[in-house]
């Protein structure tokens, strides 16, 4: 079952990437509980089987003969998310970048995503984020190189300059840009400092995004339904393309799919702050209880 889910996660579904990573830990010794959880993932896929990655037309197509393509990435993590090993799960998503209303880059159409259990137990969120950024850097270097090679014989241009990658940890961004190693970060392994090197060389550019608007959140932890749906919206996974003529937006900006006057699917509004707050409190309590049990 996990193998079947894996193909979906790799092919078009970043929303189940984390679930598959978490379930795969039990491949060595399958137990009843993860087996039930795997069935839940399938039941989720059942209700969302129509979800698709939509690739919008690049705006530069109409402007010039050789349109340019840019990519943008996001990275996030769940610090010490694995309660047994206390290792963190890092995730990154990459998509095609469009220029938004204020000349900022907006992600549209996911092209690459990853959820990965980190190989070392990180002591702080900063360290875990730094490691996640290092992974994202390596992915972006590979993506950029492959896209450049593929674009070689085509009438498109891959934009030069650093790949923007969003990260919601100010400390990690400071460490990446300054490269200054201090008391609490001096133990971080040399191999992860590659990210500082690439930032200086101009291959990547880490920038701050708020946790709320970080789509990579989707591929690092299990989430409550409101937040999950909010993130689906951010990543652009939806049961229809934005402009297929069958979808429409109601007055509050919620999208829905309509065919012949009948509402087939409707997206609920963003997460209520209250619900999110409750979820956070609950998770905190759970972590405290878990550490008491271990102590």
């Amino acid at each position: 079952m996990v193998g079947s889910l894996m193909y979906a996660a790799l092919g078009s579904r970043p929303d189940i990437a984390f679930s598959v990573t978490a379930l795969s830990r039990y491949n060595v010794q399958p137990l009843e509980m993860p087996a039930t959880a795997a069935k839940r993932v399938l039941r989720y896929l059942k209700s969302t089987s129509e979800f698709r990655n939509h690739y919008r037309r690049l705006p530069s197509y109409s402007r010039s003969d050789t349109p340019s393509i840019n990519i943008i990435g996001y990275t996030d993590l769940d610090w010490a998310g694995n309660l047994t090993t206390r290792k963190s799960v890092g995730g990154c998503v990459f998509g095609l970048a469009h220029t938004g209303a204020n000349e900022e880059l907006v992600m549209s159409g996911l092209i690459h995503w990853q959820a990965k259990s980190q190989s070392v137990a990180a002591l702080s969120t900063l360290e875990a984020e730094y490691i996640a950024c290092s992974h994202a850097t390596r992915e972006s270097l590979w993506l950029r190189r492959m896209m450049k090679e593929a674009a070689g014989g085509m009438a498109v241009k891959i934009v030069d300059g650093p790949v923007p990658i969003g990260c919601d940890n100010q400390g990690a961004i400071k460490l990446i840009t300054s490269g200054v190693v201090r008391q609490k970060s001096k133990h971080i392994d040399v191999k992860y400092h590659q990210v500082h090197d690439e930032q200086m060389k101009g291959a990547v550019k880490f920038q701050y995004v708020t946790s709320e608007s970080n789509p990579a959140d989707l591929s690092t932890k299990p989430l409550a339904v409101p937040r999950h749906e909010q993130l689906l919206e951010l990543t652009g996974l939806a049961p229809f393309g934005p402009d297929d003529g069958e979808s429409e937006y109601d007055e509050s900006g919620r999208s829905r799919k309509v065919k012949g006057g009948e509402v087939l699917w409707q997206r609920k509004g963003g997460a209520g702050d209250k619900e999110l707050e409750e979820e956070r409190r609950f998770l905190l309590l759970k972590h405290v209880l878990a550490s008491c049990r271990q102590a």
Binding site: M1, A22, R43, Y44, M146, K221, L223
Partner: protein, 164 residues
């Protein structure tokens, strides 16, 4: 390779040399790959350094997965047609027209050149495979309240074959 009973001339102990790959042999996939790789390179494709399944030439991208091919063209429609003819001359293959499905991934295109990918068909197949056609749908893949990490000791083992 030891001579099989079907060959009369082969007495026990003698060896036969196969001159061609047989379907199902251990070597067959490798020989097939060498054959198609050689042919693609002979008709002007260059194998990508980043991904060996990607072949490139001016205005043409070709993705090869065992015996499935996906061709993308940009401003080289004539050359694309030529490549398809060359391939059909050498191998028995069909041209399925504009791509709708590749390796279980459905590709949908709108009129203005935008496209989207989904795996609806594949997802329905795996739901049927595990008999969950009538199961209750959920809105999120994992419940944040189930703690997957804390099940080590007390839990019963699950059906390994089904789990993997």
């Amino acid at each position: 390779m030891n001579g099989s009973a079907s060959s009369e001339s082969a007495s026990s102990g003698s060896t036969l040399i196969l001159r061609k790959a047989l379907y199902g042999l251990k070597q067959a996939p490798r020989l097939w790959y060498e054959d198609i790789d050689g042919y693609l390179q002979s008709i002007g494709f260059r194998q990508s350094a980043e991904d060996p399944n990607l072949y490139l030439q001016q205005g043409v991208l070709l993705v090869l997965y065992v015996d499935d091919l996906l061709i993308a063209l940009n401003g080289a429609e004539g050359r694309g047609h030529q490549i398809k003819q060359l391939l059909q001359k050498k191998y028995k293959m069909c041209d399925l027209g504009a791509a709708k499905r590749f390796l279980g991934i459905e590709i949908e295109r709108t009129k203005d050149g935008e496209f989207s990918i989904c795996q609806r068909g594949y997802i329905n197949t795996i739901i049927r495979r595990f008999g969950l056609m009538d199961a209750k749908p959920t809105k999120s893949p994992l419940d944040p309240q189930t703690d997957l990490a804390n099940t080590h000791c007390e839990d019963k083992p699950a059906n390994r074959k089904e789990y993997l």
